[in-house]
Subunit: 459 residues, 2 copies
C-alpha cells in the first residue's frame, strides 16, 4: 500500500487532477488485453519526464512498485500492477516531436499511438513499418517496451529494428539518453536495444528516436486458397526460394477460415485447408514482376483459388478475412488464450498439426493463423473462463504447445513478450545461467526492484 503521505507527495509532483485513487478509477487501469485483473494502489498520469523522474526518486525512498503503462493492449500482462503500487500512465506524453524528412528519422513521445505516427509519416511519403494488430490503439512506448511485431516483420523487421535512440528514466531515477540519431552508431553498450523489449522492467521510456524508410511506391496483394496446409507452406518456401521477401505473408488454418466464414461471409470455402494472404511492395516494376511470379507459383502448387487486388480497396477486401479472425473466433467460445510462438519457417505445418492434436487430446478448439513468412504462429485456444475444467485443460495444452515449439527449434514469443502469462515457462527456452544473467542486469539497474516487479522472470 502507498501511504497517504506518499500519495500527497505524488500529488505535489504531478498535480491533483493527474493522480487517481478512487476504486472506480483504479479499476480502469487494473486490466490489459490479457483480461487479468490486478488493482493498483493509485494511478498517476504525469506530463513530463521530470515528473516521472521525481516519482521514481520517491518510489525508491518509499519502496513502492511502479508499473509503466501505455494503452494497455499488451497480451502478456506487462502493464499490470501485479504487486500493487503505482500504475504510471504515459498517455499524456503523446507528441510527435519531429519528423526529419531529410534524414528519415522521427522523434516521438511514448504516448503517441502507433497508427497515428504511421499516418503522419505516410502523408509525406515516409514509412514506419512495424504493424502490430493493435496499432490503432497501442502506443509507441508500449510497442518499444514489448518489441511489437506485425505482418510486415517478414520483410521489414520488428520494432527494435527501427529504434535507434531513447530517453529513459532509470529505475533508481535519473534521465539518460541512449543511442544516436544517425543511421549507425557503436558508442558503448547498446542500451537502446536492451531497453527495447525489456517490458518496462529496466526503465521508463520518455522519448523515442526511430528511423523511417521511404514509403514503397507500389503494393500488390494476393489471396490464395489451398486444400492442404502443408501445400500452402511449401508455397511459402517456394516464394522465398524465388528470392522474393513479401511485405506480408499471412496464413489462416481451416478452423480460422471456417470461423471467419460464419462471422463475415466473404465466400471462403469452409473446407479449405489453408489461406495465404501475400503482399509485395516496392518499386512499381518489381512489384508487378514479383506478384506475377507468386501468382504462377501458387497456381503451380495447386491453389484452388487465387485472387489479386488491383487497387487499395480491393486489397482491403482481401485483408478482410485475415483481419476478421480475431473478432470472429469469439463465436466459437467466449474467451481465448492467444499465444504467439515462433518456429523455423519450414516447421510451421508440423507445429500447426501438433497444436491441433494437442487441442483434440485436451478436448479444446485450437485455431492457428499468423505470420507464415517468419514462422510466427498465433495459436488460439478457445475457452469459456467460467468453465474451470476447460481452463485447466487449456493451461495444460498451452504448456504442451510451448514445449512443442521449443522442440521444433522455436521460441515462446515472437512479439507479445513474456510478462506474467509466459514467465512460468521461461525455463523451457532459456538455460538457468542465461536467466541469471538477465536477473543480474535487472538487479544492477533496479536494486530495489521498484520498476514493474514480478514480470518476465519466474521468481
Amino acid at each position: 500500500m502507498i501511504s497517504p503521505t506518499t500519495l500527497s507527495k505524488i500529488e505535489n509532483i504531478i498535480g491533483k487532477k493527474n493522480l487517481f485513487t478512487s476504486q472506480e478509477d483504479r479499476i480502469c487501469y487494473a486490466y490489459d488485453a490479457t483480461n487479468l485483473f490486478y488493482l493498483p494502489d493509485a494511478v498517476a498520469i504525469p506530463g513530463t519526464a521530470e515528473e516521472i523522474d521525481a516519482i521514481m526518486q520517491l518510489a525508491n525512498q518509499e519502496k513502492f512498485p511502479v508499473t509503466p503503462r501505455g494503452a494497455g493492449t499488451g497480451m502478456t500482462g506487462g502493464a499490470l500492477a501485479v504487486n500493487g503500487g503505482l500504475v504510471l500512465v504515459l498517455t499524456r506524453l503523446n507528441r510527435i516531436l519531429e519528423i526529419d524528412t531529410e534524414n528519415l528519422i522521427a522523434v516521438v513521445e511514448p504516448g503517441v499511438i502507433t497508427g497515428d505516427l504511421q499516418k503522419e509519416v505516410e502523408k509525406i511519403g515516409l514509412f514506419y513499418p512495424p504493424d502490430p494488430s493493435s496499432l490503432k490503439f497501442s502506443t509507441m512506448g508500449g510497442n518499444v517496451a514489448e518489441c511489437a511485431g506485425g505482418a510486415r516483420a517478414v520483410k521489414y523487421g520488428v520494432t527494435k529494428d527501427y529504434i535507434i535512440g531513447l530517453e529513459v528514466i532509470l529505475p533508481t531515477s535519473g534521465i539518460i539518453s541512449t543511442g544516436v540519431r544517425t543511421r549507425k552508431g557503436v558508442v558503448g553498450y547498446d542500451l537502446t536495444k536492451l531497453f527495447v523489449g525489456s517490458e518496462g522492467t529496466l526503465g521508463i521510456i520518455t522519448r523515442i528516436i526511430l528511423k523511417l524508410l521511404p514509403l514503397p511506391e507500389a503494393r500488390k496483394t494476393l489471396l490464395a486458397i489451398f486444400d492442404r496446409l502443408d501445400t500452402a507452406m511449401q508455397t511459402v518456401s517456394g516464394i522465398i526460394s524465388a528470392r522474393i521477401i513479401p511485405a506480408a505473408l499471412e496464413f489462416m488454418d481451416q478452423t480460422a477460415i471456417s470461423c471467419v466464414e460464419d462471422y463475415l461471409p466473404p465466400g471462403l470455402p469452409r473446407e479449405a485447408g489453408a489461406l495465404l494472404l501475400i503482399e509485395v511492395d516496392g518499386r512499381k516494376e518489381a512489384v508487378e514482376s514479383e506478384a506475377d511470379t507468386i501468382y504462377q507459383l501458387c497456381k503451380k502448387m495447386g491453389a484452388r483459388n487465387i485472387q489479386t487486388a488491383g487497387d487499395e480497396s480491393e486489397a482491403a477486401l482481401l485483408w478482410q478475412a485475415r483481419r476478421a479472425v480475431s473478432p470472429a473466433l469469439f463465436k466459437l467460445r467466449p474467451h481465448k488464450i492467444s499465444e504467439d510462438i515462433v518456429v523455423p519457417r519450414n516447421r510451421i505445418a508440423e507445429m500447426v498439426s501438433q497444436a491441433k492434436t494437442i487441442g483434440t487430446e485436451n478436448d479444446l478448439i485450437v485455431l492457428c493463423f499468423g505470420h507464415a513468412g517468419d514462422g510466427n504462429i498465433h495459436i488460439n485456444i478457445m475457452i469459456d473462463r467460467e468453465d474451470r475444467a476447460e481452463v485447466n485443460r487449456a493451461q495444460r495444452a498451452k504448456e504442451q504447445i510451448f514445449r512443442a515449439a521449443v522442440e521444433l527449434g522455436g521460441t515462446l514469443s515472437g512479439e507479445h513478450g513474456i510478462g506474467i502469462t509466459k514467465s512460468p515457462f521461461l525455463g523451457l527456452e532459456l538455460n538457468p545461467l542465461a536467466v541469471e544473467t538477465m536477473k543480474k542486469i535487472k538487479a544492477a539497474l533496479d536494486p530495489n526492484n521498484i520498476l514493474n516487479p514480478g514480470k518476465v522472470f519466474p521468481y
Copy 2:
C-alpha cells in the same frame, strides 16, 4: 604477470602447442590495425568453448586479464592486451556449422572469416550483407564484437541487424545461449544485442546464429563526378527523396580523389570536388529503373561525368578508385589516424568542410571518404608517427573533429567501436549517467574485471 604455475594450468587445458609464451610469439599478438603495441603475458589458442570456459574459471581464480582476439583487424584497439595477461585467440573455432537454406539462417564459429562466409552463402543464392573493408581478413567474432558496418549498411544495416543468437562464455565462466534461431523472438532481455558491439568486454562469443537474405538477382553500379562536394551531397538527398535506398552510396572528397589518381591512375579529374559511387540491387526490373532514375538525377544535378557498369567486371573497375583510397593515402604521409564518425546525412558536406578547416588550422592533411548514404564519414588525418609535433597536432585535430561531429547531431563511431583510441572522448557523446549504467552492467557480469579490461570506458 601470469605465474608459471598458472601457465601450466592453461597448458593443461588447451595443450602445450596452443599456448605461446616466447617473446617472438607474443609480439605477433601485441598489435592490431591501430598499430599500437601492448605485449601480452601469454597467448592461448583454444579449440573449444569448454576450453575457453575452463580458462575463464582459472582467470577468475587467479585474477589475470583475458583479451579475446580474432584477426586483429580492429581499428580502435579492442584486441590489445592493454593490462597484459592472456590474449585468447579464437581463430581455431573456424567452422561454418550450418547453412539452413530453407529458413535462411547460418550458424558459424567466431573464427570464420567474414568474406569466406559470404562466398559460401552466395554460392547457393543467399546473402550475408555486412561488408567491412577488412572482410577478406576479419573474423565473424570480431565483426560481432565490434558491430562491424560497411558500404551496404545504408540499405542492409550493420552486423547487429543480422545476429539473432549467440553462444557466449561469461566473464565469470559458464556458457549461455542467447536469442533464437527464428526470425522473431522476444523472450527475456535481448542479451544478443547487448553482446554485439560490447567489444569483448561482456563475454567471449563462441557461436553465432545469423540470418541471411536471398541474394539480390541483379545489381547496377554508377560512378558520378561532381565539381563540388555539396552538390554531390544534394544528389545523395535527391536519391533518397526519390524513394531509392541504394545498396551502396559511397563518396570521396577532392583530396581522396587526387590521392587515388597519384596511386592508381584511373583517369579521375584531380580537381573534382567529389565522387559518388552508387550501387543498386534487387529485382532486375527495379534495378534498371532505379539506376535510370539515379543517372537522370546525377545529370540534373550537374555531374560532370557519369559512368555506368554493364557487368560485374565493369563494376569492379568503378569500385577500384574507392577501394584504392586506403592504400593510396599512405603516399601522402606514412601513417594515418582514421576515424569513423557519423553525422545526419544532410550534414555531411558541413562536417567534411569543418574537418578540412580543422586540418588546415592544425597544418595537417585531412581527407574524407566513406558512406554518404548513412552519414558515416571516414576522416583520415595523415601523419608521420616519428614527428611528435605532428602527432600532437593530430591528437588535437581528432578531438576537434569529434566535437564537431557531436555538435552536428552525430556520433564518435559508426562501425569501429570505442576500444582505447576513442575512450577518452566517450564523455563528449554520452552523459555520465549513461556511462555509469553501462559500467553497472559490466560490473554485474564481470565483477573481477577479467574480460578485456581498460576498454570502452575512460577509467
